[in-house]
């Protein structure tokens, strides 16, 4: 099941890339398509940040992940590299759990 999902999603991502190179440009050059598609990752990434920080299953929770996100946000504002942002969040969660 996990493999089926991984391979299906990989195939979908590849076909989207190929579609851009192959389809007639006018299909994707519609002004509404052009301005809507870039908004999708913004909304999805923001929703992923919120739900994966403040929920477990169907329950809203406030735990060490909120502090980890706060530290990550500071790292982002300081323009830290990606790995530093992720590592600082993980380290924050690990340290708070030791307390």
């Amino acid at each position: 099941m996990l493999w089926a999902g991984l391979l299906t999603a990989s195939a979908a991502c590849y076909l989207l890339k190929l579609a851009g190179l192959s389809l007639p440009a006018r299909l994707l050059q519609d002004a509404r398509v052009q301005r809507t598609i870039p908004l999708v990752p913004i909304a999805l990434l923001a929703a992923l940040v919120a739900t994966q920080t403040f929920s477990t299953g169907h329950h809203l929770v406030l735990d060490v992940r909120a502090a980890a996100l706060g530290v990550a946000a500071i790292a982002v504002l300081l323009r830290a590299p990606f790995l530093v942002v992720v590592a600082s969040a993980a380290a924050t969660a690990a340290l708070l759990r030791l307390l």
Binding site: G5, L6, Y14, L16, L21, V40, L48, A50, T53, L83
Partner: protein, 224 residues
């Protein structure tokens, strides 16, 4: 090699090395989410688009279904189709070469290709960045996955709390104007409000549908 070409090679290697470091965290997060080393490496080889890969393993790691993860990954990959449109006239590829080029159509290769004045430099930049990224992204993933796999409990390092930081780091460069910032806040609030009431995995799809409706229906279409 001309000075322009050596500059491109230098930039491509720089991007490759940065993304290799970023792939270390993907390998670690994916393995912590419960994927095997082989599954983690397969995603980097076959999916090869960072935000989609992080979303896929993030949803699985948070206990969501693999199909909810797959749908989110595909929605995040839709932007690559727009990059393809911009690149298709520039690259001039057909047949097998186009099938190979397609796998490299991502944020970084597009940015490198469209920044050139000469079409031959654009093509060179696309392929140089694509090969450097593909090699180092997959190497970084393997190293991150193997290192995490060797740990008895990655939770001790807080790796299970790392995905939101990865999503935030991917989101931040897209928030440089007022509208995207407002959309991000609205999407986060809608997702949290809906979460206790809608079936698992539907929250993200609902957010995607709402932003799609907003994009299509909003007035003032001549913005870009």
């Amino acid at each position: 090699m001309s000075p322009a070409r050596s500059g491109i090679v230098r930039d491509a290697l720089g991007i490759g090395i940065a993304s290799g470091a970023y792939a270390l965290s993907f390998g670690a997060i994916s393995t912590t989410a419960g994927l095997s080393v082989l599954q983690t490496c397969a995603l980097s080889l076959l999916m090869f688009t960072g935000a989609s890969q992080f979303a896929m393993v993030g949803v699985i790691g948070a206990g969501g279904s693999v199909w909810a993860g797959a749908a989110t990954a595909a929605l995040l990959g839709a932007r690559n189709a727009l990059y393809g449109v911009r690149l298709s006239s520039l690259l001039g590829v057909r047949g097998l070469r186009r099938a190979a080029a397609a796998q490299f159509v991502i944020d970084e290769t597009t940015a490198m290709a469209i920044a050139r004045d000469e079409v031959m430099d654009s093509r060179f930049a696309f392929w140089a960045t694509g090969f450097a990224l593909f090699a180092l992204w997959n190497l970084g993933t393997l190293v991150g996955a193997l290192a995490t796999h060797a740990l008895s409990n990655p939770r001790v390092l807080g790796l299970d709390a790392a995905p939101p930081a990865a999503f935030l780091a991917l989101l931040a460069p897209r928030l440089r104007a007022r509208e995207p910032f407002a959309i991000a806040i609205a999407a986060a609030v809608v997702a949290l409000v809906a979460l206790p009431f809608v079936p698992a995995g539907i929250t993200l799809l609902m957010v995607a549908i709402l932003v799609g409706l907003y994009g299509v229906l909003r007035p003032g279409g001549e913005s870009h």
